[in-house]
Structure formats: C-alpha cells, structure tokens
C-alpha cells in the first residue's frame, strides 16, 4: 500500500482493545448457531491467550424490542447501563457484545451520552433508583468480529486449513456480508467504515479466500426487525434476501460469511423458504449456499470438529464446503450431541436438498 493510500485508510480504522474483555452474549445466537459463541471464547482463551469474562448475570440489551418500537430509548439506556455496571463489577473496561445489533445499540447509547450529558445523568439516576448500581462507560466497545479481524494473522499461524479448494488449489470464492448495525449507524466504529467494511473481507483474504464483489453486496439481508416480526410484512424481508441471492448467484460463491446473528439466520433460513415458495435454489446442486458465522469459519480452519461448532443445525448443510476445504468429519457423529446422546434429525425439506434422511 502506498503512503497516500495508507494515510486515507487510517481514517477508516478503529481502536480495538488488546486484552481483558467483558463478553455480552446475544439473545438469539445460542439457539440459532449454538457453537459460535463457545467457539469465540475458546479461540480467545485457548488460541490467543486472552482474558474474557462470560458473566452469568448478563441479560438482553433490548435491541430487538428497541428496533421493533416496543421498548423506549430511556429503558434501553438504563438496561445497557446495568450491563456496563456488571462490566465494572469485574473491573474491566473493554466491552464485547456478541450481536451486531447489540453493538449498534451500545454505540448509539454511548454516543448519545457523549453528545447529551443530561441523558447520561438521567440514566445514572434511573439505574440507581431501580437497582442501586453505579457504572462506568466502557473505554472500548469492539464487536467479536473486530477482535478476530485484529488477530487474523496470529490465528492464521495456528490454522490447519486454508480457504482453498484442496483438489484444485484455487481460492474459495466467498460472499461477505456485514450486518447493517455494525457500520451503517456510526461508520467510525467499523473497520473500513460504512463504505469499505473490511472486517470480514480481511479475514477471508488473510485465510486464503477470494472476496466476491457483487452488485448488491451492501444491501440489507432483509431481517430489519419490523419487516420480519409482523407476518404480513415478511414478504419484504424475504424479498431483500432474494435480491441479494439473485445478485450473487452468477458469481457462484462457495459460501457466505456474516458477522450478524440476523443476517446469518435469514440468509440461511430464507433459502429454504424461497425454495419452498418458488422452487428456486441459488447453487448448481439444489443444496443452497452455506452461510457461516466468522467464529464457525475460524473454528473450522483451526481444525475444530464441525459438529461441535453446530454446523448441523444450519438450514443449508455444509458438507460440500467441508469437502472442498478438505476438512475431515464423521457423518455418523452429525446428530450426536455434546452429551453423547442422539439429538434427533430434522425433517427433510421438500425442495432444498440435504444429505440426511429426516
């Protein structure tokens, strides 16, 4: 990179704390992608040797309710303040929310406090009256994908696999999709800003893959809260996903990488819905395009068991991708849970092909 480019690119960087994180889990990720958060904690602790607290007293940030207009902003600020007070209890200053919407909510709350100090005082009063607690504003708020991005080179040294087709030697072609609440609310809180989000693209390129630049790359996945939560509006939600898949289809992506719970969920599950509604899938084999979280991808390349990462609970099955990378897996273990018990096989979709008999 030449000097001028470096100079301008610096404006698109953000500060990401080095160590000592307070982890705030997502409300929905543990049910939709149950291995992702565990994989992130394992990567940080075991691979990178960082300190990260996974607090049992934590709770929602209200993000879903807030963006659905059923929770007031005053309430959201107070609940976020309680989470910050839990972080202060653990004598930590670096806040790491697992969910992109939580990340957006926390940055919005802190930005509000910075611009309107009277709101901060009001929130302190509300929290004191409701819980008797005090809190400090985090010195650093980073999304987990920021941290994986920051340490992508260190992780590469430990990886057993690369994003390369092990039969042809060609880089895998990857669609990256960053959640809207990551960089489109406050662009200076995103690596690459809103214009050039680099957080996932940086991982893909570092780990050997090729990023696909397709026309609807920056389009919303379709979750959008209001569009999905009311059934009558779901047509708008799925229409957004369809638009993205139609746009990426001709580039023949090997998989989609996301950093937001909603995006992963909807780009994965809507493929099934579109297939059932219109008989259409967006790959050559009728099996859909796998959608992974960045933790699942990092875990896979580090050599973790795909079934421990929870890939079997995705709608679009990932075996084709594992075969391309050359990752070994045991099909017999697919529906055996961590406890060693059989967890059941999902019902087989009518149109979207899967490689199990449900």
């Amino acid at each position: 990179m030449n000097t001028i480019k470096k100079h301008f690119w610096n404006e698109y960087q953000k500060e990401i704390a080095n160590d000592n994180y307070y982890y705030e889990r997502s409300c929905i990720r543990q049910s939709f992608f149950p291995g992702s958060e565990t994989a992130f904690l394992k990567i940080l602790r075991d691979e990178l040797g960082k300190k990260i607290i996974d607090d049992q007293h934590q709770h929602t940030c209200t993000g879903i309710g807030y963006h659905s207009d059923i929770v007031q902003f005053d309430t959201t600020m107070t609940i976020c303040a309680r989470l910050f007070s839990l972080m202060s209890d653990n004598e930590l200053k670096n806040f790491v929310p697992s969910c992109v919407t939580s990340f957006g909510v926390f940055t919005e709350v802190v930005e509000t406090w910075n611009q309107f100090p009277e709101e901060l005082e009001k929130t302190r009063k509300f929290l004191r009256e409701a819980t008797g607690r005090e809190f400090k504003i985090p010195e650093n708020i980073a999304h987990p994908s920021d941290i994986i991005y920051k340490y992508r080179k260190e992780l590469k040294q430990k990886m057993k696999y690369q994003l390369v087709n092990h039969k042809t030697g060609k880089p895998l072609r990857v669609v990256e999709h960053t959640g809207c609440h990551y960089g489109k609310i406050f662009s200076h809180h995103a690596v690459g800003g809103a214009e050039f989000p680099q957080v996932l693209a940086g991982m893909i390129e570092e780990w050997g893959g090729e990023v696909i630049d397709y026309p609807e790359r920056r389009h919303c996945c379709g979750f959008g809260f209001r569009q999905y939560l009311v059934m009558a509006n779901r047509g708008y939600s799925v229409a957004n996903t369809k638009k993205k898949f139609e746009s990426m289809e001709e580039y023949k992506p090997d998989f989609v990488l996301t950093n937001c719970p909603g995006c992963t969920m909807f780009m994965d599950r809507w493929q099934y819905t579109i297939a059932e509604m219109e008989g259409k899938t967006y790959d050559d084999n009728g099996m859909g395009i796998p959608v992974l979280t960045y933790e699942e991808l990092a875990g896979l390349l580090l050599g973790y068991n795909p079934w421990d990462l929870g890939l079997q609970v995705h709608q679009v099955q990932s075996e084709s991708l594992l075969d391309k990378i050359g990752i070994a897996y045991d099909p017999a273990d697919k529906f055996i849970g961590k406890s060693g018990k059989f967890i059941g096989i999902p019902e087989k979709p009518e149109i979207l092909k899967v490689d199990y008999d449900g």
Binding site: M231, A232, R234, V238, A239, K243, E276, M277, E278
Partner: protein, 116 residues
C-alpha cells in the same frame, strides 16, 4: 409449494433495462404542463373515481413517468374524465389531458386497445 401466510414482495426499484422512458417524451409533446407536476396528490384527493375504485392519478402518472406500464391501462379506464383534478391542481397541470393522452400512448404501445 407451501403457503407461509405471506408472499415474496416484488421489488419497487426502477429497472432501467426494462423501463420505457421514451413514452413519457411523447406525452410531454402533447401535454407540456405534465412537466410541472410535483406529485402532491391533490388530484387524487379530490377524485370522485378514487372514492369508489382504486384509481389514483398521481400513482398512474408516476408509474408512466418511470416507464412502468403493467396494469396501467386498466387503471386509467376507471377515470370518467370529469376534470375535477384539473381544477385543484396547484401547478396548473392539465391532468385531464394527461389521462386522455396516456390512453392513446398506451394503446399505440399495444398495452391495451382502448375504445376512445
């Protein structure tokens, strides 16, 4: 195919690959005041046909300007050409003449043969 209780919404984005934008120029030749329309919707608010049908002049004009003709001829058929919309237009647009000429242009484009 399953019924999910909702359908996939069609995109409302103007597709320049399929939009016929030349037809609007033909309308402007006939009714130059069409240029002055700012889509305020006063015409639709006062429209008698709009009280009893789905007819919406503002929407028809907008769709034609964008080159989107599907279903437009059927909608224009609902107008009685009474001209009340022309009386309330704050920009002096000859709305009645627009509807009359839209029918002719669409008919020429074979969207629907209309008895005039």
């Amino acid at each position: 195919m399953k019924n999910w209780g909702f359908k996939i919404s069609k995109p409302r984005v103007l597709d320049f690959d399929t939009a016929n934008l030349d037809a609007y120029n033909r309308l402007i030749e006939k009714v130059p005041s069409a240029h002055r329309c700012l889509m305020c919707g006063a015409c639709t608010a006062t429209c008698t046909a709009n009280l009893h049908t789905t007819f919406n002049f503002r929407n028809c004009h907008l769709m034609f300007r964008r080159g989107q003709f599907e279903g437009l001829a059927e909608e224009l058929d609902k107008c009685m050409l009474c001209g009340k919309c022309k009386l309330v237009c704050p920009r002096g647009v000859n709305t009645r003449a627009i509807i009359y000429n839209l029918r002719i242009v669409l008919s020429d484009l074979n969207y629907k043969k209309i008895e005039l």
